[in-house]
Amino acid sequence: MRTIVNWCVAHRLMVILFVVIALVAGFVFTQARSDPDGVSQKDLERAKESFKLKYGRDANRVDALSWLAESYLSRGRAVDAIQCFSKIPTTHPVYGHMARYQQARALLGLHRAVEAEAEFRDLIGVEDQHPEIQAKYLIDARQRLRHILEVELRFEERQQLLRGTISRGEGDFFEVVAYCFPSHLRWNGPEAMQWIDEFHGADADNHWIKTALGRYRTGQGQLAEARKLLEEVVHDRPTDRWAIAALIACLREMDDQDELSRRFNALPSLAADDPWLLLIQRGQIANEQGRPQDAVAAFELLLKHDSTSSEAWAGLTKSYLELGDLPRRKRALAKSSVLGRLQNNLGKIFRKPEDPDSYLFVLDLCAEIDLIDEGQILSQFVGRLAPDNPKVIAAVELFRQRAATPNSSSVLE
């Protein structure tokens, strides 16, 4: 009997002990683990204390989130920082914009390009309604967004972004060159490949990233892998012209004529908003198939977006020859020839961006083939760089005059 009583007491004690342990563990867990928003309550409380010590007032929740996020960033805990920033609405009058900016930067640092792009766009999207946002953050946000678009080979969108940048007079030398000569900068270098691999590691299913990765793989000669990636995207998104264009480019490198014909014949008609790569493919394939008029249509459309496209001008030299249009061929040959030298000279700007002479070489070439808009933008940029340089002043004036009198000095028309 006594044994039974002792057992019951022991049992009750065990249960009580279990409950106590569970309660303690639950308390510790809730303190240490995230709150329902995914942010550690304990850290948040500490942040409030720290904030109060620093600023002498009680921190509200957003104060604490922002303070904690900055603290995480300084300690390299980007994931936790992003979690905190994400709880701060863009509309918050004090922290909203910086939270978006910081969150996007942290996301990009983790190569989470899709999320970073969304946050950068969120911030940039409200700039008109919020003049209080400091320009330097907006400029930086646009530069980082531009970087994402470049790595993902979304040159059409980059051009739109740069148009705004240039019109505001904000562009640095890279942006000015990228805007004026969008297809003349090498895109498949080792650094860009590393970026896209990392973007892909973070967002393996994103169609932009997969399409870009397919293009990079094509550019690396890894055609089987490229084709697989691109076929997956096209399978999931059968009307995605960017992916189709990339797949066609890959099939051309593989010289898989049957599949190429099948894909090419299934394309919708030429459209003004066709991706640039698709316009190149349309033009080159039309030339190969003996349809120079169709090639001209595609290349001329491309030139409306990118008047310095070497692919377009080189293609037009063939199209016009087939059409017997020798004056236009002569013009295309001259453009092609100068653009062939332009690439090399652009490299000089990248290596010596502070040297006005680097730009003057390029401006000479622009003048030679009537790239008036490009010459004007570039000369104005270098005019800001070296306002007292007589050669620069002359170049600015030359392009100003030529822009004011269209075609008056054209040697090619």
Partner: protein
């Protein structure tokens, strides 16, 4: 020490000694010698429209033999390592390496080997440690540099062999960073440096060069491509924080391009520079590879120059339109060229982009009778195959030929077409290797595996490197390349100059799927004796015409054997060969038997059985 080289004179003219021993005319006679330069004919009779003729119907090799090559460097006693002063300064001069020449300098019928050497930089610190080397072929290579009088110290780039003085013995032009020079072959196994290079010497940076008769006077003129104006003391340094040395080589665009040179032979052992007056005025070209041959089918020798990162040049020969003028007391036509690379479609690739264009191979890969061009390029660019569309234009067929995509992850300099298995179709060898070690750049190796491509006879190529022997399955830093039948067994071997590693002799040991003839044309009267500019057309051997040229220049900084190798497939003879001499004359021969090395001179054909067969 080898004794004096043996040679013979035959009817007052030098004939290949070995061949002269065994004159076997066997009924072969020339049937005509009539074509005049004033009425040029295309290389062969065909449609010269810009529309490409269809390549013969797909005929994937049903009886393809595996390509086999053997590294015979040590067996043959070749021991040469080029010295490029790579001590961490990353001078741009160090990157290009040096050339190789396969040339029968002693006219014993065997191809000897000249290797081009570098030196310590800056040039003012050069020592006598390193010299160019000449190896005489006596079944294995014997170094004869000293006895041949070829010891020279400098930062030499390339070697172009050609008999500029028409004495029958090939002379050597050596391009260099610093002073280029001319070495005259004395005909007794020795050479003599010609004072002032006979007018060719320039303090510049000459790279590839090409001997050819550009003005139709029967004498070799010289085109010398130049790279860029670059100091070596102090060198331009470009920072690269990720590099172990903190630096990397500077981009070529930072070095101003130099003007190329054209020299005309005055017939008295000297040369006059005619660069500008001849229209060699291409802009902004850092020349690397060059080849001189008739690309347009008008009977005049044109010049292609592969330029680094800017449009390549095609100088179309217009000399026929010129009036004669007096040079050194001789009345001759001044060479005249027009740069038309863009118009002909060889200046840029299909995307309108200038590439790093390094070496250039030439040959009629598609059997349409027109010489095509293959250009090697930089890492992540594709090499470019330009198909000659009837002498009026070229088409970039890099993708459809399948030569482009496999080259994306390689970087190459020297290259050449060669018919490995004697099936009559030109295959392609491409040594590879980066310009410098870039450990900071992912997947961008310094050493690379060379490429060997089999011609599938339908306009396409298949890479067969992995089956072709240890050279092709190992990694190297390849630069200059020269092809030729080194062991005289009737097939084409090659020598490749590497950086850092020893240079290699690689012998073709492909089981013969067919027979072959190697033809050595010896020019007379108004055609250069060394055969440059000569073209052979063989008929009745394979389904289409087989055309081979001896060009000036080619590959990269190197001289390939100035012989015409004709693979005959399963035929035992050539029904007819036509030899088109640079002066417009045509010799025709019928029933030329396979299995011979054949020298043709003065309307006579001399042949000797391949000893190794």
């Amino acid at each position: 020490m080898p004794g004096p080289v043996q040679w013979k004179r035959f009817n007052g003219q030098v004939i290949v000694g070995l061949v002269a021993i065994a004159i076997l005319n066997s009924g072969c006679q020339p049937s005509s010698a009539l074509q005049q330069k004033e009425a040029p004919v295309p290389p062969i009779s065909h449609n010269s429209s810009a529309t490409p003729a269809p390549i013969s119907a797909p005929a994937k090799k049903s009886s393809s033999v595996p390509f086999r090559f053997r590294d015979a460097t040590s067996d043959w006693g070749l021991s040469f390592t080029r010295f490029d002063d790579m001590r961490g300064d990353n001078r741009i001069q160090e990157l290009l390496g040096g050339g190789v020449a396969l040339v029968d300098f002693d006219l014993d019928g065997s191809l000897d080997l000249f290797m081009v050497q570098g030196c310590r930089l800056p040039l003012r610190e050069k020592t006598n440690e390193y010299t160019n080397e000449m190896y005489r072929n006596r079944g294995r290579f014997e170094k004869v540099t000293e006895v041949a009088g070829l010891v020279a110290h400098g930062y030499y780039s390339g070697c172009e062999a050609g008999d500029y003085d028409e004495d029958g013995f090939p002379d050597l032009f050596l391009s260099a960073y610093g002073s280029s020079g001319l070495w005259r072959n004395n005909g007794d196994g020795t050479f003599q440096a010609v004072a002032d290079g006979g007018g060719l010497a320039r303090e510049s940076w000459t790279t590839s060069s090409a001997w050819a008769d550009f003005n139709g006077d029967g004498l070799l003129d010289l085109f010398a491509a130049t790279y860029a104006k670059a100091n070596d003391d102090p060198p331009m340094i470009c920072k690269e924080p990720r590099s172990p040395t903190g630096t990397k080589s500077c981009s070529p665009i930072l070095f101003p391009a130099l003007d190329d040179f054209l020299f005309v032979n005055d017939g008295h052992g000297s040369f006059a520079e005619v660069t500008r007056s001849a229209g060699i005025t291409g802009l902004d070209g850092r020349g690397q590879g060059t080849v001189a041959c008739d690309l347009t089918g008008d009977g005049w020798c044109d010049i292609f120059v592969a330029n680094d990162t800017t449009p390549s040049f095609l100088y179309v020969n217009q000399t026929g339109k010129n009036e004669k003028t007096q040079i050194s007391g001789r009345e001759l036509l001044l060479p005249q060229f027009e740069e038309r690379g863009i118009e002909f479609g060889v200046a840029l690739n299909a995307d309108g982009k200038a590439t790093a264009a390094m070496g250039v191979g030439h040959g009629d890969y598609d059997g349409d009778g027109w010489p095509d061009l293959f250009i090697t390029n930089f890492f992540l660019e594709t090499n470019t195959l330009f198909r000659n569309l009837g002498g009026a234009a070229f088409a970039d067929v890099s993708n459809s030929s399948r030569l482009g995509p496999p080259s994306r992850n390689t970087l190459a300099f020297g290259t050449e077409f060669l018919d490995v298995d004697h099936d009559g179709w030109l295959d392609l060898v491409v040594p590879t290797g980066h310009i410098e070690d870039r450990p900071w750049s992912k997947n961008e190796p310094y050493r690379m595996r060379p490429h060997l491509f089999r011609n599938d006879r339908n306009g396409r190529f298949t890479e067969v490197s992995s089956e072709a022997g240890s050279y092709f399955t190992s990694e190297w830093i390849g630069r200059g390349l020269a092809t030729g039948d080194v062991d005289r067994d009737g097939d084409l071997d090659f020598v490749v100059g590497n950086q850092i590693d020893p240079s290699l002799l690689v012998l073709n040991e492909t089981p013969a799927s067919g027979s072959s003839v190697v033809i050595k044309p010896v020019g007379r009267l108004r055609s250069p004796r060394c055969g440059i500019g000569t073209r052979v057309i063989a008929t009745g051997v394979i389904p289409q015409v087989l055309a081979r040229d001896i060009a000036g220049g080619g590959s990269f900084l190197s001289t390939c054997a100035q012989e015409l190798h004709c693979g005959l497939g399963d035929k035992k003879s050539i029904a007819e060969i036509q030899l088109l001499w640079p002066d417009g004359q045509v010799d025709r021969w019928s029933n030329v038997q396979a299995g011979y090395y054949v020298a043709i001179e003065g309307g006579q054909l001399f042949r000797i059985h391949f000893p190794a067969e």
